[in-house]
Symmetry: C2
Subunit: 710 residues, 2 copies
């Protein structure tokens, strides 16, 4: 449909890390500033505006933290199993484990409505930098500047929401160098259509996570609904007519969550020595907790598996980032790059403190409060959805009394619908599991701050953490409890408290609400300190970005911010040349070989359905040769999971589900020697749907879409 | 054989925690100071000296960290599967997994010699307090006192070794209040006789660990050899003729590893806020590491399982201790008890600083260096046996040049044989696993001290932790590598370096030895600071103990020190009266019921052998009714695993394998309301050996021993 001129060979790569200039296939580009020159130069590709708009509006953001794409005109969305997992877990109960066993709706009427899933489709982007920056005037302190900026952003968002009815978010780019208004269409009635078994979606489990070669059917289908009917969407991606081949140029459209490439050395050292080690310690603790809880029995396993996979995945991801930060070559390159930039900027300074120094100071402030900030404002000391709900209700009532622009940002009017979707979620909360989580985090609060800390003793109220957690969970009514064991728990009072305002809050005896109140004064104060330090950094980064634009040009991309980005790259293997080189594409034959090599010991076992069909599948040469996963040099990071991978024709050739372990360093620096994005091959998906799952309606829907109307 | 006079009813219990006086069934008593009055008073039991000596000399210490007992005149030893696990793992290879699959020697010739297992049998105890205390004279600084005391202890040990040929250890009791010389017969040729499958030994896994009711056949048999033949041992325990019943008085003879009941509040606060949280963070990290490594495949699982179980067990144990420390009632009781004692002591002080204050100061010193001390001297930064071997060799050569009394304590002459047994162990070391462990611990070193710390950068030598670990493990020859993948690794050079002295060390290019050298200066200096602070505490505790003996009498027991102790208690259930009360004895019927209730999902599945016999076993009413596990109020702690439990007749009725979760607080305070010691029932063991394992020779050996000769 959309035509590209010619096909360039894969750019020869291997530049040193941390070089200042952008290197081959690097970049998570803004859709309003695509890398047209580089695409033409390196790949002979010239995407048209129409091609870009079609890809943009076919792309879907999962607000729970991933990406996806429309693949039929009837609102059918493809993403990863692991992106859908949050919904799959919440939909389960004692007799249904959709995450483990998969799901297939026989008809549209059987599609299962998710409890709190919101999808966004980016409709427009507008540069509002000037208006946001104008709110902050010379001479303002950070204490004055932060609320002024927040108010300007909220006003822009509110105006946009009123004018368009679209979700409107002002996004901070280049760490404060630019501000863009993103308007998105929002879908809050989203239903589960199809998911394979966990065991094939996540074949190889934690062991193979972030590894390649790989053999994962990590997919899941949802459908967006409007007014109770499947949404008629203006754009969706057609399925490609054939699989990818080595050397193919591919594009990835998705929502990379967060990168730190623009950070100064001071910020990166803090990441290396404080932030990431702290995250890892937390993830290790939670992995032990969830693992132990899951081992108690099959029902406990079902309750905890979603959280367990999440922390295992996070642990491995953070380990990868940390390995990069501890690689002296990477740090040396970062330092070298900063020396040059910094000198240029500081030489041109008319006066005042260098922005690099201001960032260093702000970072020291942040490091100083980090522990209590994470425990209280980050909520890590109160690891229970009941607590999160309590705090949301408490603050919503307090913030509602202020003008929208002066509220804590998440309580602005334009965000209300999304906030309420989450707060009033029908997600089931299990008393024993919530108690185990809360007891663990209260224990950790006590040991981190010390058992005699005043906050600790007042939170624990003379009980041990375990007893206190039991009492809080047993006594709170701030969530839905389907657990028959919690029959004596108070009824769900979220709505009454939220709607009841200050009087209802004051009259409530909910013990979790009392804890939220108890810590909120310090928590809000820590947040204010952090926001002001961030404001200092934002202003400093704006100066650095301006200096960089001036000397290096504006043909650069900002760090990832969980907004829609365009990446591109080649399907390419990696490693030393010769027999140990890793080929870029795996097949179903490889899946069976890998399972056999591991004696089908979990996590290398196959689901029952696959075992039953084993002989038939292995006799089917075409099936066995079908590509299952492939890697490319596209520049991705966490949040890109579920991102559509398209070819030059804009047709779907795959769905990103992972990066290899060498790609995790992409958080701080791009490197295409060994870093690769891993996708499920679209041809492999169709083959499984047809041959293994006999999901004929689904196949018809995507294939008719692809081969019929267009 | 040995007769007790009458049978008292179970002591009514329920006193408040932390009361000063010793309460019912409390105590880990010295065999040279048994609680005769209490036994007579509370239980009408009057064990004779002969009875005590027989139990003492039938008891066996596993130097790897557990307890056991001789159960035949031919040196047959019973212990727990989890105590034997270290040896089971080391004996395994790519095609044998004895820990998982169990082992049964068909004949004595088939018994498998362990790589580095040492058993000790306590022969005599002598009070040498006066001589040790005399070495430290008034006016000595800690810097002078510590080596003086060390030299006195080494001299006593050396004399004893020369005179008796027995392993001779001067043991510090009452935190420094007394010193006893323990002489033990040592067995270093120990062979594996029988082990059941891990799945029945550890049925319920981590989920049921430290829980009750319980259904674990946690046993293992070894045999001590002398001069290549089964050792003829003068004492062994006869099997009881019937199972225990609720209310029975039982005795436990074993080696509780460590308790902290005599610690001052300052020391306990440090445990609560620093030591235990740090241990937990370490264990959580290692649990994630070993779990992830084990998930890579069946062979990796075999390599890592021993370590994984160890850290899971440690994690749950430390969580229990921490829960106790964070229980305000326990801390309040500790504080209250100290107030009274302290006042009494300080009122009587002629002058000088209160020992409580000196302990507080020494604890502050210890807390100040704790992190680097654990990383370096504790070796936590270098988590590989290769490193431990490198350090042992390095220091052995250096220390050898000094008189025995001036050496680091583990290098004293009287300990040489034990040290060499461990250093030259045939334990297999796997390159990939050692690399994963070392990379993880080096990463942790770097993040804990900061990536720019001087020690960190010199240890890493310009590499990332992962690369550096790979290089060190690939290049070291300080261990045995059976791994075919490590074919290009250097040959085992432990013996040559150890025997070669300073010249060989200087000439060696072993990279792990170089790292051990690099950190040894700081490591030794940290150790010296810690030892001097400990000396300050030891002197202060001696004063506190003297004051306590004077006012409260000497009928008390010292904190556990991994030396032989006698505990006693009643077979007793716990919990509220009524249907929820936990009965003290479980049966094989309960095992099958528990498995069914958990849908036989791992870790609640049964081994293949048990599944095959399932119908037969379930039809065998006598088997199903046989006791499997039971609990008693005996006062135990980690290290007691494998301890024989005997009845008034001194006959074996069980083998301790665990305490319930409520017992973990016994580290700091005894509490018999809910704390219970868990044992495998001796009758249950015989039933399984007969009916499930058909281990006729083994049954004959223990039953003939019990019913024949005596």
């Amino acid at each position: 449909m959309y035509i590209f001129v010619s096909r360039a060979c894969i750019a020869a790569v291997g530049c040193l890390l941390g070089a200042v200039s952008i290197r081959a296939d690097e970049g998570m580009w803004l859709f309003n500033a695509p890398p047209l020159d580089r695409l033409r130069q390196d790949h002979g590709a010239m995407p048209t505006a129409e091609w870009l708009l079609h890809l943009q509006q076919s792309s879907v953001r999962f607000n729970s933290g991933g990406s996806g794409a429309f693949v039929s005109a009837d609102g059918l969305v493809i993403t990863n199993h692991h992106v859908g997992a949050d919904s799959l877990h919440k939909l389960g109960d004692e007799t249904h484990d959709y995450a483990r066993d998969g799901f297939a709706a026989a008809t549209r009427a059987d599609e299962l409505k998710c409890h709190d899933l919101e999808l966004n489709v980016l409709v427009s982007i507008e540069d509002v930098t000037a208006r946001v920056q104008a709110a902050v005037t010379t001479g303002m302190t950070a204490e004055q500047a932060f609320p002024a900026r927040r108010a300007a952003m909220a006003a822009i968002e509110q105006e946009s929401l009123a004018a368009t009815g679209l979700r409107s978010d002002v996004v901070t780019l280049y760490q404060g160098g630019a501000y863009h208004l993103y308007c998105s269409k929002k879908y809050t009635d989203v239903r589960l259509v199809f998911a394979p078994e966990q065991q094939i979606a996540f074949f190889g489990g934690d062991a193979d996570n972030f590894e390649f070669p790989r053999y994962n059917l990590d997919i899941c289908f949802f459908r967006a609904y409007e007014e109770g009917r499947p949404a008629r969407v203006p754009h969706h991606l057609d399925w490609a007519t054939g699989p990818v081949a080595e050397g193919d140029l591919v594009f990835v459209s998705g929502h990379p969550g967060h990168t730190d490439r623009g950070n100064t050395v001071a910020e990166i050292v803090s990441m290396r020595d404080h932030v990431v080690p702290f995250q890892l310690a937390t993830l290790n603790r939670l992995e032990a907790l969830y693992g132990a809880y899951a081992a108690r029995g099959p029902e406990e396993r079902r309750q905890a598996m979603g959280d367990l996979f999440g922390v295992q995945n996070g642990r491995k991801a953070r380990q990868g980032v940390l390995a990069g930060l501890l690689d002296p070559r990477i740090m040396a390159a970062k330092r070298q790059a900063e020396v040059d930039r910094r000198k240029r900027l500081e030489d041109g300074l008319a006066g005042g403190t260098s922005p690099y120094v201001r960032i260093e100071q702000a970072q020291a402030t942040l490091d100083g409060i980090a522990l209590r900030h994470r425990l209280l404002e980050g909520g890590l000391a109160f690891n229970s959805r009941f607590f999160a709900n309590a705090r949301t209700i408490l603050r919503a009532v307090e913030e509602q009394a202020k003008p929208s622009g002066e509220r804590l940002r998440e309580f602005r009017d334009s965000n209300r619908e999304s906030l309420e979707l989450r707060l009033f979620s029908d997600e089931p909360l299990y008393g024993e599991f919530e108690t185990a989580k809360l007891a663990d985090s209260l224990t950790w609060l006590a040991t981190t701050l010390g058992g005699d800390d005043e906050l600790v003793t007042s939170v624990l109220a003379g009980r041990s953490p375990r007893d206190r957690a039991g009492e809080l969970i047993a006594g709170t009514g701030l969530g839905r409890r389907p657990d028959p064991k919690s029959g004596s728990a108070p009824p769900d009072s979220r709505r009454a408290l939220y709607d009841g305002g200050p009087a209802a809050l004051a009259a409530s005896s909910d013990p979790m609400l009392a804890v939220a109140k108890l810590v909120d004064l310090e928590s809000r104060s820590l947040r204010r300190i952090a926001e002001e330090a961030d404001e200092v950094k934002r202003q400093a980064h704006a100066e650095i970005a301006a200096s960089q634009f001036a000397t290096e040009g504006t043909a650069m991309y900002p760090d990832a911010t969980f907004t829609l980005r365009l990446a591109y790259g080649s399907v390419a293997g990696y490693g030393e040349a010769g027999p140990r080189r890793i080929a870029p594409i795996t097949t179903y034959a490889g899946l069976f070989a890998r399972a056999a090599a591991k004696r089908e010991t979990p996590p290398f076992d196959l689901p029952a359905r696959w075992n039953e069909l084993r002989d038939q599948l292995k006799a089917d040469a075409a099936f066995m040769a079908t590509p299952l996963n492939f890697v490319s040099t596209a520049d991705i990071i966490g949040g890109n999971s579920g991102s559509p991978v398209v070819n030059r024709d804009g047709r779907l050739v795959g769905v990103i589900f992972d990066g290899n372990i060498e790609s995790l360093v992409l958080d701080v620096a791009y490197d295409d020697r060994r870093a690769r994005a891993i996708a499920v091959d679209a041809a492999g998906i169709l083959a499984a749907l047809r041959t293994v799952y006999r999901a004929d309606a689904l196949v018809r829907e995507v294939v008719v879409a692809a081969d019929g109307r267009r």
